[in-house]
């Protein structure tokens, strides 16, 4: 093949690939070194979760939502439980809501830590991965002590919680949060002012605010483009309305902005946790729901702010113990739509950085 006077070239990345964070296949159309078009081919991890939901009772389906975004299982579980609670017209008791908030915020930190470690590794910084996993290990230990599982936790139940917070729960969370401030400083020292990091991430993968809204992008990607939208503030759920926290917003919407936004989000999550553990109300942890859940016929769409964006559950009930239809709006799936817009005009070496900066989990994209 002649390479002088470069023509268009189509190359294929994945599905088996160290940097696509899962089984993602990307076809890139290149003009020499520049990407002039791309196509994401997904579905390699499709497991038919939404169809399965039609044959499981509401409680039986709860563990399935963990396996979609397996990196941030607690948030997915929260969204599902709250959606079904909306259907049942039931509210979890205050104590349950606060503990749910704490665990979800810890999960947000854990998810962002994993994102940071793998994103830095793709760009060539070998060390932040291990530091991030060291902190993530602490959070997973807390989860394990709480509900017995580290990754696919099934932490929440419909109506509240099954497990009471264990005796050293507040102390563990407080110790983690106290240590975490210096750790974030460690990551920032390694990356934020590093001119190679800035050179690799500034101006790469710019997504304007108008484009972001048009594509339906949510989460840190949207906020980095300059749109101040966070469901925790716009339509508060769990116990978020009781705590004071900021929503970090970027300006340009490039990879560097997304990095800064997620770093700041980790700090804010830490603040929420510290505020929450000061005052966990006493009381029951489970609302009065029966053993057999038969929500009245109707439909509900409930969305929460997962670490990766807005995760939405659209559940249609026909009055029986199994839902008629469950549709999940995964944040990674919708965010991945903007990939083509972000990657055009960049070099091939930037593609990996851009895939990393959207923060996708293929389990969520494919369901």
């Amino acid at each position: 093949m002649t390479l002088l006077g470069a023509d268009e070239l189509v190359i294929n990345m994945g599905p088996q690939h160290p940097s696509t964070h899962g089984v993602l296949r990307v076809k890139l159309k290149l003009d020499g070194e520049r990407v002039i078009g791309s196509e994401c081919i997904i579905g390699y991890l499709h497991r038919g979760v939404e169809k399965i939901a039609e044959n499981r009772t509401y409680q039986q389906f709860a563990p399935y939502v963990d396996r979609m975004d397996y990196v941030a299982a607690v948030s997915s579980g929260l969204g599902y439980c709250e959606a079904v609670e909306k259907l049942l017209l039931v509210e979890a008791p205050p104590r349950a809501r606060v503990i749910r908030t704490i665990l979800t915020e810890l999960q947000r930190i854990a998810s962002h830590l994993l994102w940071l470690g793998t994103h830095a590794l793709d760009i060539g910084a070998l060390t932040p991965l291990f530091y991030c996993f060291r902190e993530r290990e602490e959070i997973l230990k807390i989860f394990e002590k709480y509900c017995g599982a580290r990754l696919t936790t099934h932490a929440f139940r419909i109506g509240g919680l099954q497990y009471e917070a264990y005796d050293t729960f507040e102390r563990d969370v407080e110790r983690f949060c106290k240590d975490f401030e210096s750790r974030i400083l460690e990551y920032e020292t390694l990356l934020t002012q590093n001119r190679i990091w800035i050179g690799r991430t500034k101006g790469v993968g710019i997504l304007t605010a108008a484009d972001a809204i048009a594509f339906g992008v949510t989460g840190p990607v949207l906020r980095a483009s300059g749109v101040k939208w966070d469901i925790r503030k716009a339509a508060p759920y769990a116990a978020y309305d009781q705590y004071k926290f900021e929503i970090p917003v970027g300006t340009i919407g490039d990879t560097y902005d997304r990095y800064l936004v997620r770093m700041e989000e980790m700090r804010q999550s830490r603040l929420i946790c510290l505020q929450a553990i000061e005052n966990i109300p006493a009381g029951p942890i489970m609302a009065k729901v029966g053993k057999v859940l038969k929500p009245p016929p109707g439909e509900v769409y409930h969305a929460i702010e997962a670490p990766k964006g807005e995760i939405g559950y659209y559940i249609v009930s026909d009055g029986t113990v199994m839902p008629y239809r469950v549709h999940i709006r995964p944040p990674s799936f919708i965010n991945l739509q903007a990939f083509d817009r972000m990657v055009r005009g960049h070099l091939v070496a930037d593609v990996v950085a851009i895939i990393g900066t959207i923060d996708i989990v293929l389990g969520e994209v494919d369901r």
Binding site: M1, T2, L3, L4
Partner: protein, 172 residues
């Protein structure tokens, strides 16, 4: 004796590489044999106590020009060129010229040492650290006796570089 054997060793490699270079079908093989021919020539320079020329031959010729050759070979599609028959019309002229040159070189060998002032010099073995300072000698002659040609050559190279950059820039 060591001198002689070394010379014949390098010379044999140089001649064999040169022959192989022009007879190979595979272009990369030709390039590799050109590299060995140049290295053998550098060896002959070294054997003649011209250390500076030896290393300059390696740095410039092998490390610069041959790298450029190899780059071009690998970037350009040569399958089309390989199909064509080379040396179609110049065979006989080339043979004639080669025979004439061979006759001249043969005459030079045959008369070496027989007539006064002609023929090849014979060098005696001497340890490396008692040789005339090679780089210094070259430097002195370049910057003192032959400064003008040196500067002209530099300007020529500069012009060539600028020309290459201008030609290679994409017209955007």
């Amino acid at each position: 004796m060591l001198d002689k054997v070394l010379f014949y060793f390098f010379a044999a490699i140089a001649v064999a590489s040169a022959v192989l270079m022009v007879t190979r079908r595979n272009v990369v093989h030709s390039a590799i044999f050109l590299i060995t021919a140049l290295l053998a020539t550098a060896g002959i320079f070294l054997q003649l106590r011209a250390e500076f020329l030896f290393i300059v031959q390696i740095i410039l010729y092998v490390g610069g020009i041959m790298v450029l050759f190899v780059f071009v070979i690998m970037l350009v599609n040569l399958d089309v060129a390989l199909q064509q028959i080379q040396f179609a019309r110049q065979k006989w002229v080339a043979l004639l010229v080669a025979l004439a040159l061979a006759a001249q070189v043969g005459f030079m060998f045959w008369t070496s040492g027989k007539m006064a002032g002609q023929g090849l010099p014979v060098l005696t073995a001497v340890a490396a650290n008692r040789l005339p300072a090679n780089s210094e000698t070259v430097a002195h002659s370049l910057f003192e006796s032959y400064l003008l040609p040196f500067e002209i050559a530099s300007v020529l190279l500069l012009v060539a570089m600028i020309g290459a950059v201008v030609m290679a820039k994409k017209r955007t």
